[in-house]
């Protein structure tokens, strides 16, 4: 039974709560670095290492870090691991370091890592947190591959950096640009929706305040201004007239 629970923690991040395709977190690196399989996989691995390490450390320190200053503490822990990964890549794999560029440093503010710290690692023991980090990391890598493959194949006519001659005259260069990234990402999520539709649908948390690391602050702010309009509007599959949607938005913020 205990073994099943551990397995489910690991597997949850891969499909059921896939960070990129279901939770819609960490969209920036998903679009920016998923232009080729090589950069997608290296980005995924770098983020997974940071995710597992920071989950472990945050989980170990969960009883020591005061609740009120936890977000800055988490950011410092994450930044430390990102710096370590960056230095290691610079020293041993300079080609990958060059390829990822500023996006490597931006792992610090990747919503997935802060989100998992906030949602999971601060409430759970070390082993579970490490598994959660690993599962989410693998889910992240798989999602990046799914987005990167069509972009590299159709956009640049390459697979894993190897040019395919027969694609020379039929490639669609726009898919390799950020615009193509948005497009393929949208299509992939739509396909996921279609596939999960028959199984009763996955509970989708799109742009949800709950999955956002700043949820607590945002809610407080939302009370004052009604800014934090939850996912109810976006996630709902029904059409709403604009003014009704606006009212709901204010309600969502106040709730």
């Amino acid at each position: 039974m205990a073994k099943n629970k551990k397995l489910s923690i690991l597997l949850r991040g891969i499909i059921e709560e896939n960070p990129v395709l279901i939770l819609v977190l960490g969209t920036c690196p998903s679009i920016a670095t998923a232009t080729s399989l090589q950069s997608a996989v290296s980005m995924g691995i770098a983020a997974t290492i940071v995710l597992v390490c920071s989950n472990v450390v945050i989980s170990l320190l969960r009883k020591i870090i005061p609740d009120t200053v936890r977000i800055p503490c988490y950011i410092v822990i994450i930044a430390t691991f990102v710096t370590a990964v960056q230095l290691l890549l610079q020293a041993f794999l300079p080609a990958i370091y060059e390829m990822l560029g500023v996006y490597l440093a931006l792992i610090v503010v990747n919503c997935i890592i802060l989100g998992r710290a906030e949602m999971f690692a601060r409430k759970n023991p070390v082993g579970d947190s490490a598994l959660d980090g690993l599962g989410m990391g693998i889910g992240f890598i798989l999602a990046l591959i799914v987005i990167a493959f069509p972009r590299e194949f159709l956009g640049s006519g390459k697979i894993w950096g190897i040019t395919l001659d027969f694609m020379e005259n039929v490639k669609i260069p726009v898919l390799a640009t950020p615009a193509g990234g948005f497009f393929i990402y949208g299509i992939v999520i739509a396909v996921m929706n279609k596939l999960t539709e028959k199984k009763g649908g996955v509970k989708r948390k799109s742009f949800d305040c709950e999955s956002c690391p700043s949820a607590a602050i945002c809610k407080k702010a939302g009370k004052a201004e009604g800014t934090c309009q939850g996912a109810e509007n976006t996630a709902s599959t029904q059409e709403q007239p604009t003014n009704a949607a606006n009212e709901d938005g204010v309600k969502g913020g106040n709730a």
């Binding site: 679009i31 930044a79 949208g186 299509i187 739509a190 702010a221």
Partner: protein
């Protein structure tokens, strides 16, 4: 002067962070449902980017670089940005309450915004001096504001369109973003031709 204008316009149109470099997508998708919110978020981000550059550039030039501590830049910059956002919020609340009321709600969200960290890191990587960095941050911030406002307009029209069931919500938003991004590709080379 010409160079500074090029940097500024480059940030707004050509290297638009959201649509051409895909940095800062979360607020772009999350807060672009209503135009007034998009404007508020955009102005707040521009504001914080400027202040962050004013703070981080001297820190890098006069503290980190002379002591060979460049490798600490990520940790130092993210802490400076977090502290700065808090500081700006307190100052605004105390001295300009009307501005705090309109921008205040967005400020806490900006700490974890990758566009702010991205622009200060890029200013260092590109080797900009202090004045150039300020113009670059201003350009990137205005570019962020522009894309937020444009996209909020697109989105308010899109909400009323009948889209296929599996495209409802996130997917159709991303595809709309893709079309807006294609429009921005057209700006490449425009600025150089206008000025040069």
């Amino acid at each position: 002067m010409k160079e500074l204008i090029l940097i500024l316009m480059g940030g707004v149109l050509i290297n638009n962070y959201v649509l051409q470099q895909t940095i800062g997508i979360c607020p772009f998708l999350g807060v672009s449902k209503k135009t007034n919110q998009a404007v508020g978020m955009g102005i707040a981000v521009t504001f914080v980017m400027l202040f962050a550059t004013l703070a981080t550039h001297p820190i890098y030039t006069y503290i980190l670089a002379p002591f060979k501590l460049e490798y600490l830049q990520i940790i130092v910059f993210i802490l400076v940005i977090a502290a700065l956002v808090q500081f700006v919020e307190i100052v605004l609340k105390k001295f300009i309450p009307s501005l705090h009321k309109s921008l205040g709600v967005y400020l806490p969200l900006i700490t974890t915004n990758c566009a702010v960290l991205g622009v200060v890191l890029n200013n260092i990587t590109d080797g900009f001096n202090f004045i150039q960095s300020i113009f670059s941050s201003l350009g990137v911030g205005l570019g962020f504001l522009l894309s937020m406002v444009l996209f909020a307009g697109v989105r308010s029209r899109m909400e009323n369109c009948p889209s296929p069931k599996c495209f409802k919500g996130v997917p159709i938003t991303l595809i709309a973003a893709s079309i807006v991004a294609i429009a921005f590709i057209g700006f490449g080379g425009v600025v150089e031709n206008l000025i040069g």
